[in-house]
Amino acid sequence: MLALGAAIAAFTGIGAGIGIGIATAKAVDAVARQPEADGKIMKLLLLGCALAEATAIYGFVVSIMILFASK
């Protein structure tokens, strides 16, 4: 039962994956349009990825909590 809960919590990775995918696609689009602004776009992309990744991290923390903190 605990393992199941942890597995469900790990589904947050889906959201993070989709989010980062979209962000990267848009960033590639932007760099193709304006190659001279790639430094700025890269910075923003990294930031957006880190923020989107946070949801996956939350899921990871929750699953770990379910597995270990309840003991």
Binding site: I64, M65, F68, A69
Partner: protein, 163 residues
């Protein structure tokens, strides 16, 4: 794993503040001091350069003005010296005139004195002559002819002497 102890949170905050002070004292303050000093020096140098430039500009301007004024000054000088020369000339001429007049006066005076003296000498000679003649007359015999001759001789002598 997720247990929170307040004391450790406080410790973290204190650590962060200590690190902030460390950075402030050892990095930011020191580097800022150096940067400030450098900026001050640059400002100082800039101000100095500006001041010097302004001074040079002023000097240049004053020289230009002086150069411009030099022509006029030159003319003034020439005019002044001319005027001085004329004055001097006048003065010398006047002096010369005055001197000449004085010389003339003196000469006249001298001539008068000389004439007087000559006249005196002449008179005294005449007297002598008269006395001489009188003597001659007294010692020689008296006739009309010889008197006449004597008078003539005397007169001639007198004329000869006076000339």
């Amino acid at each position: 794993m997720l247990n929170i102890s307040i004391m450790n949170v406080v410790w973290t905050v204190i650590n962060l503040l200590i690190l902030y002070i460390v950075f402030k004292l050892f990095l930011f303050k020191r580097v800022d001091a150096i940067l400030l000093k450098r900026r001050e020096e640059i400002e100082h140098t800039k101000a100095e350069a500006q001041r010097k430039e302004r001074e040079a500009e002023e000097l240049k301007e004053s020289y230009a003005k002086k150069l411009q004024g030099a022509g006029k000054e030159c003319e003034d000088l020439v005019a002044q010296s001319k005027k001085d020369g004329y004055d001097e000339y006048d003065r010398i001429i006047n002096d010369a005139k005055a001197k000449a007049e004085q010389i003339i006066i003196e000469a006249k005076h001298n001539a008068q004195i000389e004439a007087q003296r000559e006249k005196d000498a002449y008179v005294s000679e005449l007297t002598d002559l008269v006395v001489h003649a009188a003597n001659k007359i007294a010692v020689s015999k008296h006739d009309e002819e010889s008197d006449k001759e004597l008078y003539n001789k005397f007169i001639f002598e007198a004329i000869e002497k006076s000339e």
